[in-house]
Symmetry: none
Subunit: 420 residues, 2 copies
């Protein structure tokens, strides 16, 4: 096919284990990511079992709606590995022994002291028209076949075989034909819902420019994906930056991060920038907040200590919560949250104390204090702010919402804090 | 369509983020797993972007080659959510407001004190022919539509919305039409590797009966999936039980649980059975162990308290670790782990103290104490046992391996404990 023409891609994964749900199709994700970096569109993913007829049907459909057809899996030595044979029949080609591949396979077995069985050489059979792609991590080579203005690329199923083959051989092959690129940036938003976000930037969504905007919501977070497609000699940021700036101007501090930044990463960064230390008192989250924060390397400089005070005794003994407070207002209350936050600061000497107490359920809820009721307190400079929340969902989801909300409160607090 | 006929299924995921490789299609895996438990075939997975024409094309193809078409995603309130609208057009139906759904959506927003925007009610529009599936975890209801001998099922994209909806409404709906069933039981194994497991049950793997055995390894755990396909009037356990018993006889306590039981669930159950209380001192895991345990409902009766003693000061002040010990052996040492475990018991009065200290990396490793070195201690009846481990992988993986290993040590200890 002609160079510099934008290709439309279909990725076909062959393997019954995918249709049985035994494994996830991570190959499709890896290939899609890589292709989007090259500015190559992916229009369809298809998964089909180890069944010759259904795979043949899928090939017919793909060859009608795509220019580039990439298959993964089914290149093994066993009888139900039929990807190569089926594609070759579909294209009306013939298989012959590819001597370099046969040699490589013999080597591979010799190295491991395993004896070569006949069917292993099945993996060395290719049509003469094919560009054969060596497999340094397994016995199944891949192949590229160009026919009738279409490109067919066959890759092995195991990710540790597919990924190096794709990076070392397929990417260079494709890059050379493409003169375009796609660039994406993801804005991460917390604290306002998807529809509210969309209201705020409705006009931008309606009049999309070369930079497209796609909202996505999950677990109380909203992300906006900004994507621009341009020539390789252009700088995509030139198109994305103005749109990003306008969105940030409208949504303000609700935009907490970009691309793969998590709330905990942003909080850790702020703590480091402001040179402040943190201690956490967790009840209903049971250690989740500490766990999230300590996923960030180097946090030990700023995170002094966490107390998972599940029982009342622990709240009293560890944090100095007053028994009268627990008695009068209960463990899940504004007052207890405040004393927990003040207490963790007193006992650790941290600059900031974060405390959460709530009812994660499924049991323990009442009419006045339903499952999902959560209080989050932040103590600093001798006083504490407490906020009440009502989260929904199962136990894990409530713990998760609580942890994220607590990290976001901390983030907003730190943004407004100038440490002397 | 007629009942008792084995259905062929196609799962269509709608979402450009999948084609850009930003997320993996785990919904297809979840649905495929569940359907195989019902004995329903899945022949194709398809992924298509938020594009009306291409989705319409995918629908045409699917309706030709499948009896049951399940879509995921594209039910949100935003403009690029077009799954429902497209299917309804494809089937030549009309959308009208579904009052119960509208009501649920209003409630949902009230609960959160968020203001309902116009586009949210878009999610309450359904054809009269549809069976509407309530969404307890989000605002987008799902739907089942039967037309021309085909079944169309629309589900929301977020897994925490899709999964309960599928389990609570779709599974019962489908089970009722199927006369075949596949039943699976998963044996969960910790502490021995995949090849050792396969060695121990080699003969069973070679001579599989009506009950098939499929080993799967991931992150230090091994699972054996026992599957039997039988008529609905047969009891699958009759076939599975003997095989399960034989495997348990051979692997002993290495089999820690079955199906979805996690290590933390098993530990929680043992604590309750033995009526023992637990306190945890975590360093490198930063609260992960407490978080895992507190995912189990009702754990508060047996889990008294956790201390995330990240800094040396905390280890000294909270747990009474002796400064000399830290100086002489270091924070990551057999001795420190022991004193942490003894200390958390002393300060909490718990029956058992669990303590972990290690180097999660990426920094902080030395030749003598490399990243991944971990000490786990269990204190009981006045003395503590300590074990040393060397885990590999990145920071999160090391934290995870440590937490699982600690829970498994605790499990084995509890199995041998008879509390007076």
């Amino acid at each position: 096919m002609r160079k510099g023409i934008l290709m439309n891609t279909e990725i076909i994964a062959v393997g019954s284990e995918l249709l049985l749900g035994q494994i996830v199709n991570t190959n499709a994700q890896f290939i899609s990511c890589s292709l989007s970096d090259l500015g190559i569109n992916v229009y369809y993913h298809t998964v089909v079992g180890d069944n010759r007829n259904r795979f043949m049907e899928a090939l017919k459909i793909a060859s009608k709606r795509a220019d580039l057809i990439i298959t993964t899996g089914g290149l093994g030595p066993t009888m139900d590995d039929l990807t190569k044979e089926t594609i070759v029949d579909f294209l009306g080609l013939k298989l012959t022994l590819h001597e370099p591949s046969a040699q490589a396979i013999r080597e591979y077995f010799k190295k491991r002291g395993r004896t070569l069985t006949e069917n292993n050489l099945k993996q060395a059979m290719f049509p003469e028209e094919a560009i054969v792609l060596p497999n340094k991590h397994g016995t199944a080579p891949g192949a590229i076949i160009e026919k009738d203005d279409k490109i067919y690329i066959m890759l092995p199923g195991p990710p540790y075989e597919l990924q190096p083959m794709f990076i070392n051989y397929v990417m260079p092959y494709l890059a050379e034909r493409e003169n375009q690129r796609i660039f994406s940036a993801v804005l991460r938003i917390y604290g306002i819902g998807e529809s509210a976000v969309e209201e705020a930037i409705k006009d931008l969504l309606l009049n999309q420019t070369v930079t497209t905007i796609a909202p996505l919501a999950s677990y109380g977070e909203v992300t906006l994906r900004l994507t621009v497609k341009c020539r390789r000699d252009q700088d995509p940021l030139e198109f994305i930056k103005p749109v990003e700036d306008e969105i940030r101007r409208r949504l303000g501090t609700a935009v907490y991060g970009i691309d793969d930044q998590s709330l905990e990463m942003v909080v850790a960064k702020l703590l480091e920038e402001k040179g402040m230390t943190l201690a956490i008192a967790e009840s209903c989250t049971g250690g989740l907040i500490g766990n999230m924060l300590t996923d960030v390397p180097g946090i030990s400089k700023n995170f002094l200590e966490g107390a998972v005070t599940y029982s009342n005794e622990a709240k009293i003994k560890r944090l100095g919560v007053r028994p009268e407070t627990l008695e009068r207002y209960g463990a899940v209350s504004r007052e207890t949250a405040r004393e927990m936050a003040m207490g963790i600061v007193d006992t650790t000497g941290a600059d900031i104390g974060l405390a959460v107490t709530g009812i994660a359920g499924p049991g323990g809820g009442t009419a006045q204090k339903p499952v999902g009721l959560v209080y989050i307190a932040i103590a600093m400079n001798g006083n504490a702010e407490v906020e009440e929340f009502r989260f929904i969902g199962g136990r894990k989801r409530i713990k998760n919402s609580t942890a994220k909300q607590a990290l976001d409160m901390l983030r907003r607090k730190l943004l407004m804090t100038f440490y002397a």
